[in-house]
Symmetry: C2
Subunit: 369 residues, 2 copies
């Protein structure tokens, strides 16, 4: 009998996630498990919720980590709010926007998809135009599009929605902990994030937050949430204050890790963390300029944590990535969907957002090319 | 700033789960993360699927760990098979049976609930009777009822269903790795399990298996699975053989831990593991007899891994459990639902199924009572 885990390679993760994990977070992950109703675990939960509120920029009571990876956040966001026939406007300029269309459609939403060129930001004027044409229960956008590296104008879209009935749903999976997220200031009603991007937590627990208005909308549903596992009313009875009602067993050790990951960010100082991402992104830009590679996205809309870079004519990006992984133990990712083969995606997220990692990558790329 | 994780108590988990975790599994959990499309991770996935097949007693191609805790298995089982109006027969004799009724009902199933006394097994004659009255798309039962400690006659129910069109759905959350599960021999079509019970893996990844007949039924759905995250057709494209298509980022480190947990069982020998559970259960029975506590369940239907014990007149079970936790660092659980306050649940699962743990518990109980 042979245990393959013994051979897990030490890989520098500079892709679109999962990202590298700090030693303190690995340490937290493997701490002794305790029961999910243990008073000590409940204290950890409460402190974790407070930390997540800081990262989301919210005072929302209903702010919890879900027992799933980032995609479970998208599922939870839609399944709790959508009822059959509800009008949902999705601003789509990447893979995760198209996924929203799929997720909402499966739940019976009447989806309007407003599509924008991949690699460009959502055009706020076109959104305003569309909002003049119809009324929507939900307007949804991906803030940091992981497939294109675009930072969408989440604040400006929020401004358009202020004073309307529409619930504002924002995907912050790749944003949180890398660039500022200000859910309350932007009028966001539902916001979910991933642990495995800039929080540098292994995937398996995903923060989500609902405004009081969103909670009210869930309470006013005509039908039960068609997903027991992710039903926020049931989850609130467990994660909320007062008497805890057992719902399901959460991933206890993943919660330790997420707690530690959030703790690490708050200890470094959240603004310092954002500044570090920005600085290391500029360092990458300099390195890429040296080898003559250009960004896909115009400068004001680039994500420091997820860099999409156009593959120059004549370069086989799949072969490049394979050599980087096998010979240099560095992972970067290719493009998704329409951008497959045309770009590579270089993530500088959380713990791995360090100049020395950029240097290691650029040196390796120079040697290979 | 203060990190509460530093104070996590070392607790002996003898409740209904999560159970104790072996040092090797903690070690696996905190190994270096690699990408979810890394060829090395794909190898780990393939080996893990093989291990899970052995534990389920199946040769089903579609056997994977889900990216969620045990309850996500129940959700996945029903959401992939149920379409609006489908007839589902649920054999209910505990909390997890009632949960099935809720889960299936939310998805639009026409549910028939056949209820049995809590603490007694499902009565096969009554099931046969019911099957004569109507035709069902799905017949579902909880094999090891975690709320009552009853081992239901999963094989005998399967025998009744052989030759019918009904899909047989079995919850093996608390069974797997503790008592034999023989999905193929019993004609089970959908079976899910928990990592955090007798597999002694922290919660966060849950094995599930679908027979070819169940896969065919999913393919023949008229509507898309109303749950993107748990859609088995999409998951198959990622977990299946051949070209891997990215679906969502699975909890990589949880998969390491589950791999190690399964490895540990196979290394000990699965029959040895079952024998150990049986032996330690008998050791507990002896200890309980000494202090005059009786089992809720008749001997032939007891689960060795989950012992439900009637609280004697005059004993405050909540106070007992609190003292066990606070003074002796031992967790046992109370009853759920109708059994709250009437029983305690003592789990002897996986890594913690050891005589010395029973001795520690019985000694503590003697001191307190």
């Amino acid at each position: 009998m042979y245990n393959s885990l013994d051979d897990i390679p030490a890989t520098l993760l500079l892709g679109a996630g999962p990202s590298g994990v700090a030693p303190s977070t690995y340490h937290a992950l493997s701490k002794s498990i305790i029961g999910h109703m243990d008073p000590f675990f409940i204290r950890i939960m409460d402190e974790l919720k407070d930390g997540l509120r800081l990262l989301f920029g919210t005072r929302n009571e209903l702010t919890v980590p879900l027992s799933g990876t980032g995609s479970s956040g998208m599922e939870a966001a839609f399944v709790n709010l959508v009822e059959k026939g509800d009008k949902v406007l999705i601003l789509q300029n990447g893979v995760f926007g198209t996924r929203m269309v799929d997720v909402a459609g499966r739940l019976g939403a009447e989806v309007t998809e407003l599509a924008f060129e991949w690699g460009k930001p959502v055009d706020v004027d076109r959104v305003a135009d569309q909002l003049g044409k119809d009324r929507y229960k939900i307007v949804a956008v991906v803030f940091a599009e992981t497939s294109t590296g675009v930072r969408n104008p989440a604040k400006e879209i929020g401004d358009l929605l202020k004073g309307t009935d529409a619930l504002y749903l924002v995907d912050a999976v790749t944003a949180i902990g890398g660039i500022p997220v200000e859910a309350d200031n932007w009028g966001v009603d539902i916001c979910y994030a991933g642990g495995q991007k800039c929080l540098s937590c292994p995937p398996g627990a995903s923060p989500i937050t609902f405004s009081d208005r969103a909670v009210e909308a869930i309470k006013n549903r005509k039908t039960k949430v068609p997903n027991w596992y992710l039903d926020m009313t049931l989850l609130t009875a467990y994660w909320g204050g007062g008497t805890r009602v057992y719902h399901h067993t959460p991933p206890v050790n993943m919660m330790y890790a997420l707690y530690q990951a959030v703790y690490n960010i708050l200890e470094e100082g959240i603004d310092n963390v954002f500044a570090r991402h920005e600085r290391v992104h500029k360092h990458l830009a300099k390195g890429l300029a040296e080898i003559g590679w250009a960004f896909l996205v115009d400068e004001p809309y680039r994500l420091p944590e997820l860099n999409t870079v156009v593959v120059p004519e004549g370069v086989d990006e799949a072969a490049l990535r394979k050599r980087l992984l096998n010979e240099y133990h560095i992972e970067i990712n290719g493009g998704l969907g329409a951008l497959a083969g045309k770009i590579v995606r270089i993530g500088l997220m959380g713990y791995n957002a360090k100049e020395e990692n950029v240097d290691r990558l650029i040196t390796a790329m120079k040697e290979i090319l």
